[in-house]
Symmetry: C2
Subunit: 507 residues, 2 copies
């Protein structure tokens, strides 16, 4: 199964994106619900931000001549509800993760929806080497060509980018006293939490959603990821779990038989003659994995269009098959929910390596510092047996990039071990949200650490569900999560403005 995907690893899995799965650019928040809209039509609506560029330094930490090179870093800005510099109105910043920034902006409705209440300026900053924020003259061909040019793609550089961009923006807005709150989900949530910890002088607080900051250096079990997915499906029905679990051997046995590959090809509606059993298993595993991650309570379109509670829908397809009663048909129908909910795709291309969200840089990050190992399976796992370890990662990275990962660097730089003890008396104003149906939640902070470094845990939640646009169908627990987040952020701001006015009275 996938061993390092945070969102997606196109290296181990290939995907078949139906054209309708591409996400429309932006949506009027609060008026038309984008998730709903998306399922109806993909016509683009008005952008709700301006696209801007900042001249960013290539290397913040060294002073070699090449470190002074610059590149154009993209950010999106929305000042519709901003209270302005005179009132020191707040600035909400999304710390972009491994994809193009529009995609994250469009899936972070929480910021758009709370902006009027907080009179907040919204800024979404794109992560270097993703989207349009490409060093070396904006040329992805050059920037991604080898480890010399890719070398500047690192989390510490990204955080320093955010620091310099935010300060420059505030200066240009003559709004130096505006408090900044950072938001992020997944890797972006890791960055948000780390940004608050490393740059408290720039960010007042962080909403770090579904950030597996403990999925490092053996702190989190390598089985956790697949165990949670297994539990998600097994929780729906024991039969669903058993059908999936036994399917792998049937697939492999069939593949080994004469004419078996053609049976598999037809069973799973693979377009081309080529079918490789490893690719097929990866393709199916991906469907289960991403469906578990995005097991949202309402229809959504984060990775692909999906119905509400898609894990339940998948198990329904397995438990109550409509179109046949053999294992392959059941698994196919389940996978079809993930890959083809709109029903438009007639056959699937396992070798399609299209990357609509521009996530390709992640495999470099996974090969250098982001050594989040998730690929192990226990005997109970619904996935094919896998013993994936750091050594497998190492082998891949040497082959792919001729690079050796530094697996202890991230815990060295940001901390991870004994986080409760470390942050009990250090740091403040961080919310760690996790939904326990999200396989990444095993690497998240699930307990309050101090009065203001808090964990919000939603048993029914999936991957950064809190950050999504609200809908009229949201369950109460999700409404409560968001209310609590708004309440905590309000408290940070209140305390900040109090200190600010106190300071001004005394100076």
């Amino acid at each position: 199964m996938a061993t390092w995907l945070l969102l997606l690893s196109s290296t181990f899995f290939t995907h078949c994106y139906s054209s309708s799965a591409k996400i429309a650019p932006a949506f009027p928040p609060s008026i038309v619900r984008p998730d709903q809209q998306l399922l109806i039509t993909t016509k683009s609506s008005d952008h709700h931000y301006k696209e801007k560029f900042y001249t960013q330094i290539l290397d913040h930490f060294n002073y070699n001549p090449q470190s002074y090179h610059t590149f154009q870093q993209r950010y999106l800005i929305n000042d519709k509800h901003w209270g302005g510099a005179n009132d020191n109105a707040p600035i909400f910043v999304y710390t972009g993760n491994e994809g193009n920034i529009e995609w994250f902006a469009e899936n972070t409705g929480f910021m758009f929806e709370t902006a009027p209440h907080f009179k907040a300026l919204l800024v979404f900053i794109e992560h270097r080497y993703y989207g349009k924020s490409i060093p070396f003259g904006g040329s992805k061909e050059i920037a991604y060509s080898n480890s010399s040019t890719l070398g500047y793609l690192s989390s510490t550089q990204a955080l320093a980018d955010y620091a310099t961009l935010i300060l420059d923006l505030k200066k240009n807005l003559t709004s130096m006293d505006s408090p900044v709150v950072v938001f992020g989900g997944s890797y972006g949530g890791m960055l948000a939490a780390w940004f608050r910890l490393k740059y408290p002088h720039i960010a007042l607080g962080a909403l770090s959603s579904s950030a597996p900051i403990l999925n490092l250096d053996n702190i989190t079990s390598p089985y956790s990821f697949s165990n949670i997915i297994t539990q998600d499906f097994r929780g729906e029905s024991e039969n669903c779990y058993r059908v999936i679990k036994k399917s792998w051997k049937e697939i492999e046995d069939t593949a080994a038989r004469a004419g078996g590959m053609e049976i598999l090809r037809k069973s799973f509606r693979i377009c081309k003659d080529f079918i490789n059993v490893g690719f097929l298993e990866g393709w199916i595993s991906t469907a289960f994995t991403y469906t578990a991650m995005t097991d949202y309570p309402t229809p959504s379109n984060f990775l692909n269009p999906l119905p509400a509670y898609p894990v339940k829908q998948m198990c329904k397809a397995i438990d109550d098959p409509k179109t046949g009663n053999n294992t392959f048909e059941k698994i196919y129908q389940a996978a079809n929910i993930y890959y083809n909910y709109t029903g438009e795709t007639k056959c699937f291309d396992l070798l399609d390596d299209s990357d609509p969200h521009d996530l390709g840089g992640w495999s470099w990050q996974a090969c250098t510092e982001m050594v989040l190992l998730t690929g192990g399976t226990t005997e109970e796992s619904m996935f094919p047996p896998s013993n994936y370890t750091y050594l497998d990662r190492l082998e891949y990275c040497k082959e792919q990039y001729n690079v050796v990962p530094r697996p202890t660097w991230i815990p060295t730089e940001f901390g991870a071990h004994h986080i409760e003890r470390v942050l009990k008396h250090f740091g403040s104003n961080i919310i760690f949200f996790n939904g326990l149906r999200d396989p990444w939640s095993g690497g998240g902070v699930l307990k309050d650490i101090s009065k203001s470094v808090v964990a919000i845990v939603a048993e029914q939640g999936a991957h950064h569900v809190d950050l999504r646009y609200s809908t009229n169908e949201d369950p109460k627990w999700l409404q409560d999560v968001r209310k609590r987040e708004v309440h905590l952020i309000s408290n940070w701001l209140t305390q900040y403005y109090h200190a600010l006015s106190h300071h001004h009275h005394h100076s």
Copy 2:
């Protein structure tokens, strides 16, 4: 006057080090007082540490092929009083600054003297590019040859060095639960404070002594540095101040006269024919500056051997001249206290650029990120008028290294503006010590920020006087400062061990 020296700028000033001024390697702490001993004899005593080397990575923040290069980083270790891994006994780490590490170890008696009480392991880590910790095969010629090789000399790299070295050392000692407290003076004190802020998962607390972390980005007045020195001398006597203040014009007028250079040469006992009035003024200013910095209450030998209260002695030389009554003789006798307290030097070589403490890398740091501007003078200043600004620094750096400083980087990376507001509810366990006679104290944290981010201010103190070996003649205020520091560090450790045992009981 000196415009960027933290300890020393051999670029603007040249010094004449008498051979006796070189510091003997090490001293038996508590038994023979090193300062006293030094003034008696320079014979070397037993080293009180072992010298070790760690294979350090060249670039922590990027992943280009050259970033994987390594170098040998030196550290000194003393385990005489360590309570050991089984008891999780503490580790005290000196975060080395811009010189060879023995020199800092020898001038940080506080760590040696408190080690028995705390059962602490002592570790002094040398800063990259100083002493024996030279990248590029240990060759200073290569490492210092151009901005490509010097580029990796930065504060963020140094802090990351300390992080990786400390974690590796603890792993090798199987002492992962030993709390680490970091200590540093001057730039080393800036690093200690920043280390606690950036690596709270590695350091429990920091004693940051005489660290001008606010002398950046116009937060501290550019006149502060020379104003404090002026006040030090003026506080001794108005006459002392006036003689110094008027001396510069006399020197310049004399230099402009026929035969005047020879008069100056003889008056100031300059060895060689060459005398340049700028060098001479720099040489004299340096004496006043460093004497103010090291205006310790007992005899000392930090930069040069000096008597107790050397500023007072200088003013005495000016106010009660023994060997003549003209301005030059008075100034010469004052400077002679700094340059030649042992009386062994017969004449001074203004062009001598020897660098016994290996401080040469600082000018690179000052030309890249350490833009601490201290060179301005007000009308009241005892120094020659100076209007030194960032533009002068820029011009020098372009010429010297073909490099453009990044003056906003350090405040961006570490914070400086509104530090009280930022750290009021973030961070803990930092002691900022400052002595108000120290010209650097103007850039220090002089007020408590929170319950555990505290300022200790000694009106009579000079540059990191608290870190020095104690002597029987120490005034009560100095004893009290050290007692309070010990008390605060004890509290951090008590709280840590409490949390540790609590944690173990629950796991």
